[in-house]
């Protein structure tokens, strides 16, 4: 099976001219142009460069939507298995164009794409989660190495060879964590790292600390007597039988349950399905985690206006932060829409 590759380059590398030709609109030529020739020779028997698509850097930047659509169309007509764009080195506009086209082609045509950039190119930060961006030097003097690395990665991807970590394959990480087996066990790696750290020698941490978003707290409730209050919990309290099949850990969903006709949670109507704590007592009295009984009591006493009719609940153990963030946003929007003034969050 002959695998088909299309290359994308700018007007300069197509030999059309420098800045004075940067306004040229997208065009396609069969076969190889400029660096695509070298790509073909590096790919050898593994794949054929069936066409080259060219666009001026200024044109792309100034007509983003049209240029992107036209490039994707031209590239699609060659029916490629993979797109190689650039490399753009440290050229900002070219980098953005390469990253943008690669991302669009991967998304719309469903084929892998590779480009190459210098680490400071703004295209790296913008597009590294969406395409393979091979690390290159800052100028075209590094063309040979860049095309070698791009072609090597292209061959692996086209042949379905399992890829190693981004660092080993030479591209900028796409923001995905994947498990690999190291040469040595974790304990040895830890002691090695600690000794290097103590000796003041360079060492590479295996995970950089994430930076948490700080959410400013809402204004305090001014009129508690008339406030509507909702209960939201990550303590895994759900109607008996877990009707929405929320997972015991690593939840990817939450449940919304109508408690408007209930005054008390009991082992007969609710239970804890949480996989991360000793739930014996929570199952004897689910109010210990989701305090419906006491909230009803305070509602009757007039401490606050009204208890919101629904509770939101999930299991907060091993839950990916990305999911937790989505739950929070969705629940928050719904509460706001329904005129809820304050929320009591119970965790475990």
């Amino acid at each position: 099976m002959t695998r088909r590759v299309v290359c994308y380059i700018n007007q300069f590398f197509a030999g059309m001219g420098g800045e004075e030709q940067a306004h040229v609109p997208p065009s396609a030529r069969p076969g190889t142009v400029g660096p695509a020739m070298q790509v073909q020779s590096l790919l050898g028997e593994e794949a054929v460069v069936v066409g080259t698509v060219i666009c001026g850097d200024s044109y792309f930047g100034e007509h983003l939507e049209e240029a992107r659509a036209e490039c994707v169309r031209l590239i699609g007509e060659f029916k490629p298995d993979l797109l190689v764009a650039g490399p753009a080195f440290n050229a900002g506009r070219y980098g953005v164009a390469c990253g943008d086209i690669c991302s669009a082609v991967t998304e719309k045509l469903g084929i892998p794409s590779i480009t190459g950039m210098y680490r400071e190119n703004p295209g790296v930060e913008l597009y590294s989660p969406k395409t393979f961006i091979v690390k290159t030097s800052d100028s075209a003097r590094g063309m040979k190495d860049a095309l070698g690395a791009i072609s090597a990665l292209a061959v692996k991807i086209l042949k379905g060879t399992p890829l190693g970590a981004a660092e080993d394959e030479g591209y900028f990480p796409r923001g995905i964590r994947k498990n690999f087996f190291h040469e040595t066990n974790g304990a040895k790696r830890a002691v090695d790292m600690l000794l290097r750290k103590l000796a003041g020698k360079p060492f590479s941490t295996e995970y950089e600390m994430p930076v948490f978003k700080r959410i400013p707290p809402a204004e305090p409730v001014k009129d508690l007597k008339n406030a509507t209050i909702a209960l939201v919990s990550s303590g895994g309290i759900v109607p008996r039988g877990n009707p929405d099949h929320i997972r015991v850990s690593s939840a990817e969903s939450y449940g919304v349950y109508d408690i408007s006709s209930l005054d008390d949670l009991t082992p007969e109507n609710f239970e804890s399905i949480h996989g991360g704590y000793d739930r014996v007592w929570a199952n004897e009295d689910p109010d210990t985690v989701l305090p419906l009984d006491i909230m009803r009591e305070m509602e009757r006493e007039g401490v606050f206006g009204k208890l919101y009719d629904n509770v939101f609940t999930t299991t907060g153990t091993g839950t990916a932060v990305a999911h937790a963030e989505r739950f929070g946003q969705e629940i928050g929007e719904r509460l706001k829409k329904d005129g809820v003034d304050a929320v009591i969050l119970t965790s475990t």
Binding site: N179, L194, K197, G275, G276, D278, A322
Partner: protein
């Protein structure tokens, strides 16, 4: 303190008239071993089964794994507080059935136990696919409360581990490993120019199936303390937990702690190993503060230059991890931590529930959420339907044909945070 581990190699396990090891085969008298298991009126029924490396066997839900060990000489008994009297351990000689394991299994409370596959893709992730396992499957007497059930099964595991080793006490060791080291004062004086390293062994201490025991004491009621590394190899610390099976420290892991091994092997050459600080992961903020202050203070009083911190579990213990690292670093004590990550099934989420800028040296034990395909096995020991209640599983995990699609965390020991395996998450 000098401890000799007399390791008798076990490469196969068979039923026999007498429990003994002969030429690498562990023979087990089924009736006798069952009677040891049933020395507890909390069990209605017990079964023993074998699971050997390479077999098409799935064990589920697994609670604990225990390496058979018993004392040949020296004070105390292995698993002090549970087997034998109450004396500190770590001296003399201890017999080890190397390559054998007791696996406790049963529908306990069905939530955070895990599974072991003896072959197939899951086998690559768990050390217990490589051991010759004697699997205890029990049913409790009717009406037994869950805490008593957990305690009964935990104690049965230690009893059986000790029983197997005890029956083989006359066997000739295939390998003798000597662990000899003094206390922190003596060793620090011997090697004044080497960096002095302590080890915080963070342990889940949070209730049912979330407890760890030190000399039989439930650690959630203790403050951090100091033990000699040899004590750990003699069963001073045992598991009473199943905090997601991927990153629980089974009793087997405590006995074969790779951090202890690593620090010991470099002691006197590259570093001074000051000792092990078994520490807890409290559920309360005040508990987390108290514990981390104690840890940092103990490290300082020991004169530590650096600390290896291992986590157990994930989620709220990430906060203990951050506090331990941050407090030590602020005292000028350098830290490295070993932790797994919960980066989501797509690997795109941030992996910790808490973070501290002081954690500059992080060793990853893998992403617990990564999905793995587990093929059908010929034989199931236990109950495969329990996958729907295990961390890493869901109701749709078990397919009609018996195959499973689960998160890595359902596999016992897959992302062990003592750094037992070679796994680690990396960026792609």
């Amino acid at each position: 303190m000098r401890l000799e581990l007399h390791k008798v190699s076990v490469r196969n396990v068979l039923w026999g008239d007498e429990t003994k090891v002969e030429r690498g085969t562990l023979f087990v008298n089924r009736e006798e071993m069952l009677s040891v298991a049933m020395k507890d009126n909390r069990f209605a029924r017990a079964e023993l089964e074998f699971a050997r490396p390479g077999e098409s066997v799935r064990i589920i839900p697994v609670k604990d794994v225990i390496e058979p060990r018993c004392k040949l000489s020296g004070p105390g008994e292995v698993f002090p507080g549970f087997v034998g009297g109450m004396q500190t351990v770590g001296e003399g000689t201890t017999l080890v059935l190397d390559g054998a394991a007791v696996v406790t299994c049963g529908p306990i409370v069905a939530f955070q136990e895990g599974l072991i596959d003896m072959s197939g893709p899951a086998a690559d992730y768990s050390p217990f696919s490589q051991t010759n396992n004697v699997v205890l499957v029990v049913e409790p007497v009717e009406g037994l409360d869950q805490h008593s059930y957990e305690a009964a099964l935990r104690e049965a595991g230690f009893r059986l581990g000790w029983y197997l080793a005890d029956k083989c006490r006359d066997s000739k060791a295939d390998e003798v490993k000597v662990y000899e080291m003094g206390g922190p004062v003596e060793e620090s004086a011997k090697y004044p120019h080497l960096p002095k390293i302590a080890y915080f062994c963070m342990s889940i201490t949070q209730g049912l199936l979330h407890d760890t025991f030190l000399y039989g004491a439930d650690m959630k009621h203790l403050v951090p303390t100091l033990i000699h590394p040899n004590e750990k190899m003699d069963g001073a610390m045992v598991s009473g937990n199943c905090v997601s099976s991927c990153d629980k420290n089974t009793t087997w892991h405590h006995l074969n702690d790779p951090i202890v091994e690593e620090l010991y092997s470099r002691h006197g050459k590259e570093l001074v190993f000051l000792g092990v600080i078994p520490t807890l992961e409290d559920t309360r903020l005040a508990g987390k503060e108290r514990t981390s202050w104690f840890n940092a203070n103990l490290a300082r009083m020991l004169g530590a230059d650096g600390v290896v911190v291992s986590e157990e579990g994930y989620g709220n213990p990430d906060t203990d991890l951050c506090m331990n690292a941050a407090k030590c670093e602020k005292l000028g004590i350098r830290t490295v931590i070993i932790s797994d990550e919960a980066a989501g099934t797509d690997g795109k989420s941030q992996g910790l529930a808490d973070a501290a800028p002081e954690i500059t040296a992080f060793v990853s034990a893998g992403n617990v959420n990564e999905m793995v395909e587990l093929p059908v096995m010929d034989r199931i020991l236990g109950y495969d339907s329990s996958i729907s209640n295990l961390s890493g599983g869901a109701e749709e995990s078990l397919r009609k044909d018996g195959s499973m699609f689960v998160e890595l965390q359902a596999i016992i020991g897959s992302t062990n945070e003592l750094g037992f395996s070679r796994i680690g998450a990396r960026w792609i």
